[in-house]
Subunit: 166 residues, 2 copies
């Protein structure tokens, strides 16, 4: 017999994932990209997000980023420890990085990066690029040029007793 508590958690995952996929489908009908996401804590919805790149002229407005930003506002903290991010699709490098910085506890997704690639989204190309040395990139070209005072902001930060770590 399966563990009933694990079974309950499993049903919860399915419900939230279906809701995230619904958000993605609704967003396409509204003229946006095919992605939706929901942040959940203690079994309750904290926030949701839909891809707003074209509507908001914001290349960072991916569904997961939107949901994470909204979760921070809703919870009044930049630390999303204890939350679960449900996404209609496997998070791209931008979105998984947002989850890392937000200290999200779990990420669960429905469609995967191959679905995204088949629909014309660049995730696959970006994964490949990110696995190579940035100095070899042609777009963008990435260049280090150390200035005389490059470390000054970090020195100020280290000296600031009242700094809020994140």
């Amino acid at each position: 017999m399966s563990d009933p508590s694990a079974h309950a958690a499993d049903d919860g995952d399915l419900r939230w994932l279906e809701a995230a996929v619904d958000l993605a489908a609704q967003n396409v009908r509204a003229g946006g990209g095919p992605f939706g996401a929901i942040v959940v804590r203690n079994g309750r919805r904290v926030s949701s997000g839909q891809n707003r790149v074209t509507r908001d002229n914001d290349p960072t407005a991916h569904a997961e980023v939107e949901a994470i930003r909204a979760a921070g506002r809703a919870l009044g903290t930049f630390d999303l420890s204890g939350t679960v991010l449900y996404s209609s699709c496997e998070p791209c490098p931008l979105c998984i990085s947002a989850a890392l910085w937000g200290r999200v506890e779990r990420v669960v997704f429905a469609a995967n990066k191959h679905d995204a690639a088949a629909a014309g989204f660049d995730d696959s190309a970006f994964y490949e690029l990110l696995a190579t040395d940035r100095a070899s990139w042609s777009m963008p070209r990435v260049e280090e040029r150390r200035t005389a005072d490059a470390a000054e902001p970090f020195l100020l930060w280290a000296r600031d007793e009242g700094r809020i770590r994140y």
Copy 2:
């Protein structure tokens, strides 16, 4: 003799980097994180950004992300082709991904990831984590669970003749 146009471009880089480092230092004095960034197109400032993670309770509000978001608003497009992103510090995986999605042409930075790590920022740990299979991560745990309608948003998207690609 050096190429005068290359020399002029070089001086421009230094000026913008110093301005980005100034933004970072100002931000620490104002209680924020030690990071600043500027988006430039055709030698003119389009936008700037400072780290707002703690002020805005937004784990994605890195200086480069803020500058890229502001550039999209200022230019009225999610496509930042032809722009240069100057950052006070080497962009973390979140920020370099934002530059990729924004089609930024060049990224130039002053301090590097080792400076950031020495100041207590998690970039290095995230680089290492991102180089491993997500299925092996413990924080966040990353799980695929395909739902019956997982591909539906992409099918709707493919059928939408009026879709705005990005």
